[in-house]
């Protein structure tokens, strides 16, 4: 029995060194080896022979390493990495700016938190839209690999979830401020209303992403979110309405372009 344990420990060590697999994978493979070993011993094989046979049935460690390397997650698509980096930089800059204003007593803490949450929420929504536009612009020339596409979808989901929470928090803080200063929580002010529309839209996008609406193309809805954020951000500036409508129409056009077949321009150019 101790000899069997030594053999298994040696086999596992060799596998770990050759494949570089995680402990969880090694645990699973070891569990399989033990099942096989038990079966062979019950069939009347000697300890030594049973172990040799069970180990050979598992396959050569190098072959296993090659197979596991194939399922390793590919690196994230470059724009996805940029977007993640941009969110971190943006959040750090915004928090730094608002903190400095608050310390100078030029901004009360409630307003600083409201402005920070809303600005970051809207910015992240716009960043997601821009990220998806990058995808739409790339797709006619080459489609992303399944792994890259999965990474893009997951990043869009996480960023939109963050944007939703921040925007909602910003609106709630705004309501509290309005109650203190204006005597009411909500007044259907265009900025409030469009802020609520952005939150609702983000929730719809999250649900569509979770339900895999149009398969991976649910991320295209992120582009339409750009238009809504445009309305929300400039709702207090009626003289810029034409500009915002133009911006929203461009987003709608880009959304439509997302339905072009992948590689369509590459094939025509070839």
């Amino acid at each position: 029995m101790p000899e069997r344990e030594e053999l298994i420990a040696g086999w596992r060590r060799n596998l770990a060194e050759t494949t570089g697999c995680t402990n969880e994978i090694l645990d699973e493979l070891e569990s399989h080896l033990r099942d096989e070993l038990q079966q062979l011993l019950q069939s009347g094989y000697s300890e030594e022979r049973a172990f040799a046979l069970a180990a050979s049935r598992m396959g050569h460690p190098r072959a296993l390493a090659t197979e596991f390397a194939k399922i390793a997650e590919p690196p994230l698509w470059l724009p996805v990495r940029w977007a993640t980096f941009a969110v971190i930089v943006l959040a750090a800059l915004l928090v730094g700016f608002l903190l400095s204003r608050w310390q100078d007593d030029r901004l009360e803490s409630l307003v600083a938190a409201h402005v920070g949450a809303i600005t970051l929420g809207y910015s992240i929504s716009l960043l997601v839209g821009t990220l998806v536009i990058c995808y739409v612009a790339t797709r006619p020339f080459r489609d992303l690999s399944n792994g890259q596409l999965r990474g893009l979808e997951q990043t869009v989901f996480k960023l939109i979830a963050t944007a939703t929470v921040l925007t909602l928090l910003g609106i709630l803080l705004g309501c509290v401020w309005a109650k203190d200063h204006l005597g009411r929580y909500w007044s259907w002010d265009p900025r409030e209303t469009w802020g609520a529309v952005v939150v609702v839209w983000n929730v719809v996008l999250l649900l569509c992403l979770r339900a895999h609406v149009w398969e991976h193309r649910a991320i295209l809805l992120g582009i339409l979110g750009n238009g809504l954020v445009g309305f929300a951000w400039l709702a207090g500036a009626p003289h810029l309405r034409g500009l915002v409508i133009g911006f929203a129409l461009i987003q709608a056009l880009l959304f439509g372009l997302g339905f072009l077949p992948a590689g369509v321009l590459r094939r025509r150019g070839a």
Binding site: I25, S31, H32, E36, G59, L64, F68, R150
Partner: protein, 111 residues
């Protein structure tokens, strides 16, 4: 009769999903089931099953959990998810078309 490597690889996913459709299972049991069903014709290298299982899990088609075997050892169990059932339904349709096509061709040749 041993089945060729390419066909073994191509049939791995529908086989695994079909076995998991019967209920939760684990790697060793899946391999034993395939061996028994194919009378030893479909011979997988045991370790090669796991990269496929992990890929299916990362694609969201199956889920896993650590449980205990009858002897009290830790064992990883796999189960089919709803998206896995949908994928299996699609694969079944595709394989039925392939089988029907081959049957027609080979049926005609034998006639």
């Amino acid at each position: 009769m041993k089945i060729g490597k390419d066909l073994v690889a191509a049939s791995a996913v529908p086989l695994i999903l079909s076995i998991l459709e019967e209920g939760e299972s684990y790697g060793y049991a899946i391999i034993q089931r395939v061996r028994a069903l194919s009378s030893g014709g479909l011979e997988w290298t045991d370790g090669m099953l796991y990269p496929v299982l992990h890929r299916l899990e990362s694609q969201g088609l199956i889920r896993s959990r650590w449980g205990e075997s009858e002897s009290g050892r830790r064992r990883k169990y796999y189960a089919l998810k709803l998206s896995g059932r949908k994928t299996l339904a699609e694969q079944k349709q595709q394989w039925r078309v392939v089988l029907a096509t081959l049957n027609q061709l080979w049926g005609a040749q034998h006639a």
